[in-house]
Symmetry: C2
Subunit: 162 residues, 2 copies
Amino acid sequence: MLRLSKLTDYAVVVLVRLGQPDAAGDACRDVQTSPCIAAATGIPEPTVAKVLKTLASGGLVGSQRGARGGYRLLRPLDAIPIADVIAAIDGPIALTACVEGSGNGCSTESLCPVRGRWDPVNAAIQDALGAITLADMQEAAIPRAFRIPALPPSGPALRAAE
Amino acid sequence: MLRLSKLTDYAVVVLVRLGQPDAAGDACRDVQTSPCIAAATGIPEPTVAKVLKTLASGGLVGSQRGARGGYRLLRPLDAIPIADVIAAIDGPIALTACVEGSGNGCSTESLCPVRGRWDPVNAAIQDALGAITLADMQEAAIPRAFRIPALPPSGPALRAAE
DNA sequence: CCATTCAGGACTGATAAGGTCCTCTATACC
DNA sequence: GGTATAGAGGACCTTATCAGTCCTGAATGG
């Protein structure tokens, strides 16, 4: 499946949200709080807090403690490649245990006919993810308002009705 | 981490092995059996069987039942991109639930500012993985013999003594 | 007819992710 | 100075998914 974790998905949403201070409303000014972002994105507040803390550790967002504190972007959206977000949340991109840098070795590596060959694959993916920034993903956010009203109040996971 | 499953890793090893009939020895001729490949790769036999069955369902390998049966490649290694292997084992490449084609919807999608924006990211990765074939990964198999003797007899899961 | 080998599924244990909560510290406002 | 707010940093549990094994059945060759 080659799926990335939900947390990373959330992180992208949260970061894009942080990059739209004007859309935040009066409750959130230059910095935005976890509850504020949670309300805006629909992601549960504890999860938002967890994501933001991780992103702060990764140096993608800055934090301000105390009353009227919150989070803010340290870089503009177009300076944050997806690869950085993934690395901050999920750790360095390593498709398999064999990829160099991921410490743990492979038990069958002495027999493995593809030893070390995942590295270029990994590099190719990293390259692809490094070329796409959050700004690229934000683009789609503009016409978002045109889609929301089209949401029918039916079906649990209905998405195709547009 | 963006990690792919071990089964996919195994699949690559097994497929590369299937692409080297000359290296299989007398016990395995045109077709190779699960136990044979298991012995050659060091992967447990039931797991090899599982991988091969999955690959057969995916149309990457052909199977021959009955005595003296086994598996064989349906395409040469250089005609099998990594993306196909991943798709056969792990299903279609879908980074997030939001990527089209992955059925299940996202609960917060109506608020999500990056709706549908994972698609290009996904496409970029699929593109990168589609450009690398098993033959590319096999290349490294040639100098393998030069690396094996360098293995120190320390580690716990050492199995190279053959 | 029997041995071999794949097909297909069920089952179980281990591992990791997802999510929640608690306590502590820092800051702003009264 | 006191209090409310808000992040820091963990601990924790719950759940889902994967990895691995095994069993039964069907096809094929000798």
